[in-house]
Symmetry: C2
Subunit: 360 residues, 2 copies
Amino acid sequence: MSIDDLKAKVAREFGTPAIVVDLDVVERNIARVQGLCDAAGVANRPHIKTHKSPVIASMQRDAGARGITCQKIGEAEIMAEAGHDDILIAYNILGEEKIGRLGRLLSRTKMTVAADNPTVVAGLPEAARIAGRNLGVVVECDTGRRRAGVETVAEAVALAKDIASRPGLSFAGFMLYPPENAVNETQAFLDAAMAGVRDLGLDPEIVSSGGTPNLLNLGRIKGVTEHRAGTSVFNDRMMLAAGFAQLQDCALTVYATVVSRAGAERGILDSGSKTLTSDTGGLEGHGLILEHPQAKIARFAEEHGFLDLSGCNDRPNVGDIVRVIPNHVCVVVNMVDRLVTVRGNEIVGELPVAARGRLT
Amino acid sequence: MSIDDLKAKVAREFGTPAIVVDLDVVERNIARVQGLCDAAGVANRPHIKTHKSPVIASMQRDAGARGITCQKIGEAEIMAEAGHDDILIAYNILGEEKIGRLGRLLSRTKMTVAADNPTVVAGLPEAARIAGRNLGVVVECDTGRRRAGVETVAEAVALAKDIASRPGLSFAGFMLYPPENAVNETQAFLDAAMAGVRDLGLDPEIVSSGGTPNLLNLGRIKGVTEHRAGTSVFNDRMMLAAGFAQLQDCALTVYATVVSRAGAERGILDSGSKTLTSDTGGLEGHGLILEHPQAKIARFAEEHGFLDLSGCNDRPNVGDIVRVIPNHVCVVVNMVDRLVTVRGNEIVGELPVAARGRLT
């Protein structure tokens, strides 16, 4: 089947917009990431936030991943129900409702969670008590990204000590999300934090680094034991911009129909912020149209993608089906209950996004 | 129960983030919109894209709405299954899969659709043929917003003539989404288009205008027969900025927990772009925190809302639960399968977002 035939068939069977994943590309991406981890001697713990699918998580495990990373308890619950074990929740877990769920998860699955402050640490022993089993806790450290994480080595060491002193908790190590250009700063932070906790007699088992672009930095930060990357399983326009991926590495495209050519230099896709989302990833425009790379997805309504075609010689017609690589793939997957799966130009079926919309 | 008790109870029962809707406020908002329409002698055809709930659509019908507006066939299918009749799909419907579904809908429900180009019009007779019943088609006109719609009166009249000439189609009138500050331009366009189609012997039944802020302009464009507004049922930070709503008119808030105070001037909510979405609505910051109005939700990760607290005297602590009015409420509703419903400070229950995620 030609790509034009595939586009027509997807539109006929599923309608557009359709979120389409090429499983051949997914397998190549999984193998590439595992290869990068293996070459660096770092364990692979992929972040499932990108695919939200126990099936794809199993493909990652089968390729050699040590465990998986989740961002929310609800994601971990879906993964554990599907049989996945050894789960890191890279997030501060807080509040009675979540601690109860964490305890129930821990009773059946090896769990590690992150913490970056004493309030979160103080709540965690209850989860261990419910489970009747120790809970591993890594200290999240901020080495320049200014997201979550303690900002100083002193805080990191103090929090490690706090964790180790609590009933039912084990200090498991450190979690980093290093800026790609801050290898030296991150190394200095990590070395000092490691020395600090060793002085306390603590022995960190895990040093987790993160991020898809950092897969190209693996091995440069000494002491890292495992890596968590999400986007690399599908890739997106941000990863193209970061130089991590090429077009042929982008496993997910949104098939969209041109529903209007409102003016000579304007067009409208049937995919707006309800499909492609308004996450820009810091890029200009809201996606790359493979058939019309010079077209700009300039702005969105919920169900409209407004095209600026002024830079295009070859402009699409109403009714044309195009494929869009989204800026940020993780949030696009979260917009649908099912992905359409293909291999090359053949339809395979549908894959449930089992952990979609797990906010808590 | 106090608001603090309510926040604690919602967090305990549902976890955070929770998307909470006050039905007392919803009822007031519905009555207000119906009152504005009644006072202007314009029929009310609320857009269900905001709530995506047949239950709330019924509340709008019970208050006097003539019919409902949907943006996608999948939304109309959910509404029709729940018994709603007289549905306008304010969208170009295109392609074999959608035309088939439109035909099946039309066989059971009075349907009107919009079109802004001949390619779309050419596909619609097949839906009427499937249904064995006429399909009403309104011509979408652009009077300055530069979204969908024909840009000239000549195109509008030509498209009306095209529609009227097709088997199974009835030219039903015009659909406008006037910029709030373009009443005169819109009136001139509409008058000329009306004269043009009357010269052809066509008699438009419907002239639909749209948008929540335009509810305050009702009656200023002569000839409008009905209005479709969505956001007004819940309101949001955009409607506060537009002067349409006050704080007490905002029916939906996102209950979020402060999970980190990463630095003295920084904090993190457990609600990021997967909950509040990156739709800015043209506003600075990503939402209004009722408890800390000077805090700025500066940027997002999927599960993190990064707070800039530099303008705050009273800064939140880790574990605090806060309520956020989102910039754009329609897209937030689409992120969850269920809304938590309250009346004042009492929990009522949960309401399914039945038409969530209907991309097609």
